[in-house]
């Protein structure tokens, strides 16, 4: 018996990355632009999806994957009521969606009729940042009541974003939220990231988000990395 060193150099979570690449290839084959929507619980992910549908579904054909940790279908039901195909994915307690869950959900969507896929990740600011899904861009929905310190406390998720939405700006007069401090944290981690302050309750700011998303979708998969 002798001891030897075997060189490997293989990324851990490589299996997830491989499936995420398959997802991306599959989505691009159908010409679908896709976004991974992340947020803490209660920030307004489903509200934003419904507001996005209200503004875009007549112009862009969409599908939605709803991720939840519990065995519920209420979010997917709301999306279907709005006239958009939706698949509910339950992680059975898991803290994030992974590429294999997305692969399985994709097989249940009418991909040939879609140009835009919205994926609602599990409400969590930590774990979803580490698991690639195969989507084109990562979007975070922050919200005013969470506080302006969140970029400083959850840097990993802020660093990888292509767009940042700040929801519930109608509450700014009622809670202490230092917008300058929030913006400073965001700029440190992700200089120049597209930023959309919105209120899903009053509708403020949602048109510019919807226009941006429509334009990114029309640019299609060419500009994505």
């Amino acid at each position: 018996m002798k001891e030897i060193r075997v060189p490997v150099v293989e990324r851990i979570l490589n299996a997830n990355d491989q499936v995420s690449e398959q997802n991306r290839g599959w989505l691009h084959k159908f010409g679908i632009f896709s976004i991974n929507l992340m947020a803490s619980p209660g920030a307004g992910k489903t509200s934003l999806i419904l507001q996005t549908i209200a503004r875009l579904s007549s112009r862009v054909s969409m599908g939605v994957i709803e991720g939840d940790t519990a065995r519920v279908t209420m979010d997917a039901d709301k999306v279907r009521q709005a006239g958009v195909p939706a698949v509910q994915v339950n992680t059975a307690g898991g803290c994030h969606l992974d590429a294999a869950l997305i692969a399985s959900a994709l097989s249940q969507l009418p991909l040939a009729e879609m140009h835009l896929l919205l994926v609602e990740n599990v409400g969590n600011l930590v774990c979803p940042a580490s698991f690639r899904l195969g989507t084109d861009i990562d979007v975070l929905i922050a919200s005013v009541p969470e506080g302006d310190d969140k970029p400083f406390k959850y840097p990993a998720i802020y660093r990888g974003l292509q767009a940042l939405i700040l929801n519930k700006i109608d509450l700014l007069p009622y809670v202490s939220f230092d917008m300058d401090n929030f913006r400073k944290g965001v700029e440190m981690l992700n200089p120049g990231v597209a930023f959309f302050p919105v209120s899903c309750r009053t509708g403020e700011g949602l048109d510019s988000w919807a226009d941006w998303l429509e334009s990114r979708t029309r640019q299609g998969t060419q500009s994505s990395d």
């Binding site: 990324r11 299996a15 440190m188």
Partner: protein, 116 residues
């Protein structure tokens, strides 16, 4: 975060490479982990010892090489090391710093016993 799922993935990867090399036993697993990768060494080690039971990895050592977070200032181009995601350039004070290293998380090599 999710160190259990990650350690399971690590074990699968190690066992696959060990089998390919006809290993009798895995003695040491050499990992490279960036300081900003978000993985706690003690936690990985804890799960490694539990998950390795009943496999040829039983009792093996998890050797972790940490990589410091390194940034490049977008204003004055200085490259610097900082122990935080919220980096500012020590030369010009700019907060516009691009992360160059520190997110690594990969299996570097395995030390195994093989037949002579």
């Amino acid at each position: 975060m999710h160190e259990l799922a990650v350690t399971e993935d690590l074990l699968k990867t190690v066992l696959r490479h060990a089998a390919e090399a006809d290993a009798r036993r895995v003695r040491q697993v050499n990992l490279v982990v960036g300081d900003l990768a978000g993985f706690v060494g003690e936690s990985l080690e804890f799960y490694w010892q539990i998950l390795g039971e009943g496999t040829i990895c039983r009792g093996s050592k998890l050797q972790i090489e940490r990589i410091s977070a390194r940034f490049a200032c977008q204003a004055c181009q200085l490259e610097f090391v900082m122990d935080s995601e919220l980096a500012f350039c020590p030369q010009c004070g700019s907060h516009q710093a691009k992360l160059m290293a520190g997110n690594e998380f990969f299996l570097h090599s395995i030390d195994i016993d093989v037949d002579e």
